[in-house]
């Protein structure tokens, strides 16, 4: 086993293209993600119908040539609405994740390199924040501020920040204990330099995995909020809102309810497949 490993490792280092090591499941995940990101960018231009156009006389129409996924409760094209909804589901979740990783990651690395009082204060603060269930914080903030795209991005970002802080701090603490960081510190380098030049390059792989996990969490939280009617508000609709507005068709098994949910499922499963099959150096501990 170990002999085989070392042989394949030698072969891998001899080969210039290491990407070919990604297993099939990981490739499938990457393709699904690429498809949905593309749709989030160009969705409105490739959608067969206008987002609000009534194209079917009946609600909850069956599949037909002009309407590949049937029609929704008002007779609008489900496929077009899903393609256009992609930019809300993916855009809001991605923006929130970036913001959370930026805040949590920066503070996490700062806590790791400065140690002492700053580390303790930040860790205690985020430990306390993490003790509030995520859906509860979201509901309380939305009750107070109402729901808009910017409130949603901000709320989800704040909810994701403590988890990002924990992961980044744990990763940075490991690097921070190594000799080259100690040398840099003895040289008299400041916290900003230590974070930028010494810690960040050495944790880049695992934190990308962390980004994927938090993105999935953001997509699920956003779609749950939209499903409860507290997320993206009409006339705009993300995939969670699409499930909600067509929920009356559930008793008939209408495609308009199922397909947006399938869209969410493919995206989150795709990210999970990719993350689970990344080479070892990318992996990080899986925790929220």
């Amino acid at each position: 086993m170990s002999a085989q490993d070392s042989i394949s490792a030698v072969e891998a280092s001899a080969l210039p293209r290491r990407r070919s090591q990604l297993p099939l499941a990981g490739m499938i995940g990457a393709v699904i993600i690429a498809f949905w990101v593309l749709m989030a960018l160009i969705g409105p231009y490739v959608a067969p119908h206008q987002v609000g156009a009534l194209v079917d006389n009946d609600g909850f129409g069956r599949m037909q040539w002009a309407l590949p996924l049937g029609s929704d409760y008002l007779g609008r094209d489900v496929l077009s609405r899903i393609l256009i909804g992609a930019r809300y589901s993916i855009g809001v979740a991605a923006a929130a994740t970036f913001l959370a990783i930026f805040m949590g990651g920066t503070l996490g690395m700062l806590a790791a390199v400065s140690r002492g009082l700053i580390d303790m204060a930040l860790s205690r603060f985020f430990d306390a924040l993490i003790s509030i269930p995520s859906k509860m914080s979201a509901l309380v903030v939305i009750a107070a501020l109402g729901s808009s795209i910017s409130v949603l991005i901000g709320t989800i970002a704040v909810i994701l920040t403590p988890g990002a802080f924990r992961t980044w701090r744990a990763l940075a603490v490991n690097v921070n204990a190594l000799d080259f960081v100690e040398v840099a510190r003895a040289r008299g380098e400041g916290a900003g330099y230590l974070i930028r030049e010494e810690v960040l390059p050495n944790i880049a792989g695992p934190v990308l995995t962390d980004f994927g996990l938090r993105f999935v969490f953001a997509v699920l939280l956003l779609s749950s909020l939209s499903f409860l009617g507290l997320g993206v508000q009409p006339p705009n609709a993300d995939w969670g809102s699409l499930v909600r507005e067509n929920i009356d068709g559930l008793a008939d098994g209408a495609l308009a309810v199922v397909m947006p949910a399938v869209a969410i499922a493919t995206l989150t499963i795709g990210v999970n497949l990719l993350i689970d099959n990344l080479p070892g150096r990318w992996s990080s501990s899986r925790e929220h």
């Binding site: 306390a128 003790s131 269930p133 509860m136 509901l139 009750a143 749950s224 949910a261 969410i264 499922a265």
Partner: protein
């Protein structure tokens, strides 16, 4: 039980109460931070200044925020979190009509899914790497990765639309027969069970595998003990702590998952009350419901930690 153990558990309980205090401040600040005056909003534009001032006094809005916080907290502790801003009904009354339904759903789900998850988790840990383990791991990954309403939608379409075994919606009204009771609960419980079992199984599997990797298990294998004996007498007693921890942690997710499931099946529980309160900005109701959910979550987290402390023999016999 000895003094050190009692002390550890007492510290954990005190920590939970402290965290609950922090959560109550967060919930209060979160709901009171909004601009605008509740009294003016309630009375509308035609209200006389005297009426607004009167209502402000009744609602304690003329007092500083920290006084209002302690008034609110005191009311919460004695079971009187005020009146609903929307219809004036006492919040305690609204909650007491819904809370038993939610607790019922949660406890039925827990009773059903804990044994299933334990059996699946332990067996797939024993046969890790086998086809059975890979299929189970893949399926649970799918269930954990998709939103709860996707599972609920699938359940309705399979069991209510195609097979017509159960009604798609559940209404709990008055006294019902055992048969009706079962049909009403079946789909919400089944949906929740899928989600909970998947999570609990993953965590149980990880906990048992962690134990199976230890050197005393390797020793037991090397001395020739049969696999069943290795697992039952050597590995499991030491894995009880991590397993109990995993079960309690997964059960703390039960409430968050139950919100979506209660809404989709139209189940008359606490979640519908909370969601309606959020959409109408009925703050006293939002605060009370949020505190109940947070307290239940913290309680389960505390149980998880205490289970870990109690099952660790190194702490018990120190």
């Amino acid at each position: 039980m000895n003094i050190a153990l009692v002390r550890l558990v007492a510290i954990r309980i005190a920590l939970a109460l402290l965290t609950l205090g922090f959560v109550s401040v967060a919930v209060f600040v979160g709901t009171e931070i909004l601009p605008g005056d509740v009294a003016e909003a309630l009375l509308g534009q035609n209200a006389t200044p005297e009426a607004v001032a009167g209502l402000r006094t009744v609602l304690h809005l003329d007092q500083p925020a920290y006084v209002r916080y302690f008034l609110w907290l005191g009311g919460l502790v004695i079971g009187d979190p005020g009146r609903s801003l929307v219809n004036g009904v006492r919040v305690a009354e609204l909650i007491s009509s819904r809370l038993p339904n939610s607790l019922m759903l949660a406890s039925v789900t827990a009773v059903v899914c804990v044994p299933i998850a334990l059996v699946l988790g332990i067996t797939s840990a024993i046969w890790r790497g086998s086809v059975y383990d890979r299929v189970a791991s893949f399926l649970t990954m799918l269930v954990v990765a998709v939103p709860e309403f996707f599972i609920a939608t699938l359940c309705v379409i399979i069991f209510a639309v195609r097979l017509r075994w159960f009604p798609a919606l559940s209404y709990a009204t008055g006294i019902v027969s055992l048969d009706q009771f079962f049909r009403m609960f079946a789909l919400p419980v089944f949906t929740l069970c899928c989600v909970m079992t998947a999570q609990m199984m993953r965590m149980t599997r990880a906990a048992v595998i962690d134990t199976l990797r230890s050197s005393y298990v390797e020793m037991a294998v090397l001395k020739g003990a049969r696999p069943i004996r290795v697992v039952l007498t050597h590995a499991l007693p030491n894995a009880i702590g991590p397993i109990a921890n995993a079960v309690a942690l997964s059960l703390s997710f039960l409430l968050g998952g139950a919100i979506v499931v209660e809404i989709i099946f139209n189940y008359p529980g606490l979640a519908r009350l909370l969601i309606d309160a959020v959409s109408t900005r009925d703050m006293p109701l939002v605060q009370a419901c949020a505190m109940i959910y947070c307290a239940a979550y913290l309680f389960m987290m505390m149980l998880a930690d205490i289970a870990g402390i109690l099952s660790n023999p190194r702490l018990r016999y120190r």
